[in-house]
């Protein structure tokens, strides 16, 4: 079942094309079935990790509190982190924008005359589109996480923050490898495919000039960068090349080492249904003089990219509690229908809908917040209890109300329409007044038969809505 993604689903476009992209996916039965199967698999894996509902709830509450505590002290612990890391011999860099982050990273590469950068999985590096920037600077940036390697070979972007190639079938990957990896025979055996990838990547680890990784938690009191992974490529990327560059968002900081175990437990259990990941790396600095391995230089790039905008608002700040487990997308009926590429943003799914507007502005992302039935499945599974449905409603408000002074967000009012606002004002006028409500609904009940048979988007898959000939209040009066 080769179900190629539609051409434009593979490109990152502003969310204006969201409806067209999602339409193409929902009309493709192969993709529908494939996404559903993949998400069901992840949902089932997660639930086996949480047999005890009470334990789950108390751990989620603890996770929420840890994240809120640390966000509350964020300016202080960022400073503490910088001090400790510097003491440990790590170079700390601050980037406000993706361009600044790329310039810092490429500057380090150029200083070392780097030709090849091997990358562990990092969504922040996707966020800044580091691979494009590296390519433009003549540096080969190669993904070493198997899923990332696959999407890079295919010239695509990750469709899921934990499972980048979840949209691809085994057969598609087999075909891709056969076409792109020189000197191999065709196979669709998963173990053999993984072995092919490993063989290619092993060579690259040995010759890479730079290793790049993300960070799951940065511990301020010790100056430790924690990295969660399953393939060992994270450890290879951060220990074999002579220079290691880590990049992360400014919100990923915890003050104390003791904050890590509960978050780690929530992360791996929520993300992949694993009790613990295969690898958990704690990086505390470059190779010391008496040590025989490890990079001689370690850098950390701390990226803002709109996070401080979210931070400044009490409600929107909750967005930054996220530990990037992806459970919200696995459980989202919308993500399950359309997959990650349709969103057109680095972070798809519910977390993508609430974080992307801070990175890209509401102008480019206004439609995303409307793509939710507010069913609450995301909030229910979020390991740190981010109230995602409430935040979606807030973003709708920020987008649709008329532009005003001192907005909390870039692009506030981007979705404003005088007509739509007028309709809601009219609606409120009728529904706040018993007289007008009675009058309008009476007319509806008498003349419901005049309702058109085509009622816009509602009747594309439903019969038209017709008010009942008698309202409940009429029936109650008749009954006496």
């Amino acid at each position: 079942m080769n179900a190629p993604l539609p051409e434009h689903a593979l490109q990152f476009m502003p969310s204006a094309g969201f409806r067209a992209r999602s339409k193409e996916v929902v009309e493709n039965p192969f993709l529908r079935k494939s996404f559903r199967g993949a998400m069901d698999f992840l949902i089932d894996k997660r639930i086996t990790q949480f047999p005890d509902k009470e334990e789950l709830e108390s751990l989620r509450t603890l996770g929420e509190h840890i994240r809120q505590y640390n966000l509350g002290k964020l300016p202080d612990i960022l400073e503490q982190l910088e001090t400790r890391l510097t003491e440990n011999g790590v170079h700390v860099h601050w980037a406000e924008t993706p361009d600044e982050a790329n310039a810092i990273i490429l500057g380090i590469c150029q200083k070392h005359s780097a030709k090849l950068m091997i990358k562990g999985k990092s969504m922040v590096s996707e966020e800044i589109e580091l691979n494009h920037a590296a390519e433009a600077a003549g540096i080969d940036a190669m993904e070493s996480d198997m899923g990332e390697y696959i999407v890079q070979l295919a010239g695509e972007k990750p469709s899921h923050i934990i499972m980048p190639a979840i949209h691809k079938t085994k057969e598609e990957i087999a075909k891709l490898f056969y076409e792109k990896v020189p000197g191999i025979d065709y196979t669709d055996n998963v173990d053999a495919l993984i072995q092919i990838g490993r063989n290619v990547l092993r060579e690259k680890f040995l010759v890479a000039d730079i290793g790049l990784s993300g960070v799951n938690f940065a511990v301020a009191e010790t100056g430790t960068l924690c990295l969660v992974e399953n393939e060992g490529n994270g450890r290879m990327s951060t220990t074999v090349p002579p220079v290691h560059i880590a990049i992360t968002g400014i919100e990923k900081i915890v003050e104390k080492l003791e904050h890590v175990p509960p978050l780690l437990s929530l992360l791996t259990r929520s993300a992949t249904g694993q009790n613990i990941s295969t690898y958990f790396n704690m990086i505390s600095g470059p190779r010391k003089s008496h040590e025989k391995d490890g990079p001689t230089e370690v850098h950390l790039v701390l990226l803002d990219n709109g996070r401080s905008q979210a931070y400044a608002d009490e409600q929107l700040r909750k967005t930054l509690q996220c530990i990037r487990c992806g459970a919200c997308m696995n459980h989202c009926p919308v993500y399950t229908r359309i997959g990650g590429h349709a969103y057109g943003t680095t972070y798809p799914g519910p977390i993508g809908k609430i974080i992307s507007p801070h990175m890209l502005g509401l102008e480019a992302t206004a439609t995303m917040a409307t793509a939710s039935s507010l069913c609450g499945a995301c909030g229910e599974v979020c390991p740190v209890k981010i109230p995602i449905p409430d935040l979606l409603m807030r973003l709708r408000e920020e987008s649709f109300t008329a532009p005003h002074a001192n907005p909390a967000m870039r692009g506030q009012g981007a979705g404003y329409s005088a007509l739509v606002t007028g309709i809601w004002r009219g609606w409120a006028f009728v529904y706040r007044s018993p007289f007008w409500y009675r009058t309008v609904t009476w007319l509806g009940s008498r003349f419901g038969w005049l309702m058109p048979s085509k009622q816009g988007p509602w009747t594309t898959v439903r019969v038209p809505l017709k008010p009942a000939p008698k309202r409940l209040r009429d029936m109650l009066k008749e009954r006496g």
């Binding site: 409806r19 999602s22 339409k23 929902v26 009309e27 529908r32 009926p333 919308v334 229908r337 359309i338 917040a369 409307t370 793509a371 939710s372 039935s373 507010l374 069913c375 609450g376 499945a377 909030g379 229910e380 409603m393 973003l395 709708r396 408000e397 920020e398 987008s399 649709f400 109300t401 606002t421 809601w424 004002r425 609606w427 409120a428 529904y431 706040r432 007044s433 018993p434 409500y437 609904t441 509806g444 009940s445 816009g456 988007p457 509602w458 009747t459 594309t460 898959v461 439903r462 019969v463 809505l465 008010p467 009942a468 309202r471 409940l472 209040r473 009429d474 029936m475 109650l476 009954r479």
Partner: protein
């Protein structure tokens, strides 16, 4: 909430907040719910001035408009009686969102808080306040229950509907695939993202039909409007003259099953 309710005395009077959807589109469901409550010896008061909880504007990003409509509802329930709502979604709006909606209006917020503690979703009220145990007088049948997302996740009353149906000795309640998944309604979501909403309701109706149940019941008319609307559209597309998936509010089903000489 349920604990508190169980310990309190059985009320003699309640307010019934029908919701605008029931008043205009499913009046029979409202009448059946009222009849059922009255049969249990409760005096049901229907404030004539009631309109809508305000949720459509609230979830669409127009909290100011929602506030105006909600503020009117706050004035309708002066006595300290329970307010029973035949919808988890509208009940959730009044119980959980009204206090937030009036965060900057202390007088109204106090009113909203006081109201919040008295708001009950219909099935929750039957089970946890009245201790209602329906006696089944109908013949054997298989049905399927759809629970709204608000009833499940906001009101936390996803078990009460199943519990009530479980009391009916001749009714088998089938379990659909992906039971807890949203039907795709979501208010204006169904209009703004019709492709995704359409895919969700298509899958929902398929899974409900696959159980072989002869009808679907739900305690939320918003979901029913969406689910039954799609099922009927599909029937029309495929040239069926009788509905392949009839459905109704759980109040109507319960009332019929418990009436003398009922056939279903």
């Amino acid at each position: 909430m349920s604990e508190q309710a169980k310990n309190s005395q059985r009320p003699t009077d309640i307010y019934f907040f029908a919701t605008c959807v029931v008043d205009q589109f499913y009046p029979g469901a409202g009448l059946d719910a009222i009849t059922l409550l009255e049969r249990e010896g409760i005096r049901v008061h229907f404030p004539e001035e009631q309109t809508c909880c305000g949720q459509p504007a609230y979830t669409s990003g127009f909290p100011d408009e929602a506030r105006k409509v909600a503020a009117h509802q706050l004035t309708l329930f002066p006595e300290n009686w329970p307010v029973v709502v035949p919808s988890g979604s509208c009940g959730g709006m009044m119980k959980h969102h009204y206090p937030k909606l009036f965060a900057n209006d202390p007088a109204r917020q106090a009113q909203a808080e006081a109201l919040s503690s008295r708001v009950y979703e219909f099935t929750d009220f039957l089970v946890n306040v009245l201790g209602y145990q329906p006696e089944d007088k109908g013949s054997d049948c298989t049905i399927v229950l759809h629970t709204s997302c608000a009833a499940r996740r906001e009101m936390d009353v996803h078990l009460t509907g199943r519990q009530l149906l479980g009391n009916l000795s001749h009714v088998k309640v089938a379990l659909q695939d992906h039971e807890s998944e949203c039907c795709g309604f979501g208010g204006t979501f169904s209009i703004k993202q019709p492709e995704i909403s359409g895919a969700m309701v298509e899958d929902k109706v398929k899974s409900l039909k696959a159980t072989g149940a002869e009808r679907v019941v739900s305690a939320d008319c918003g979901c029913l409007m969406n689910i039954l609307g799609h099922a009927a559209w599909k029937d029309k597309q495929e040239g069926r003259s009788t509905p392949s998936l009839p459905g109704e509010h759980i109040a109507s089903f319960l009332l019929r099953r418990t009436e003398e000489r009922s056939s279903k």
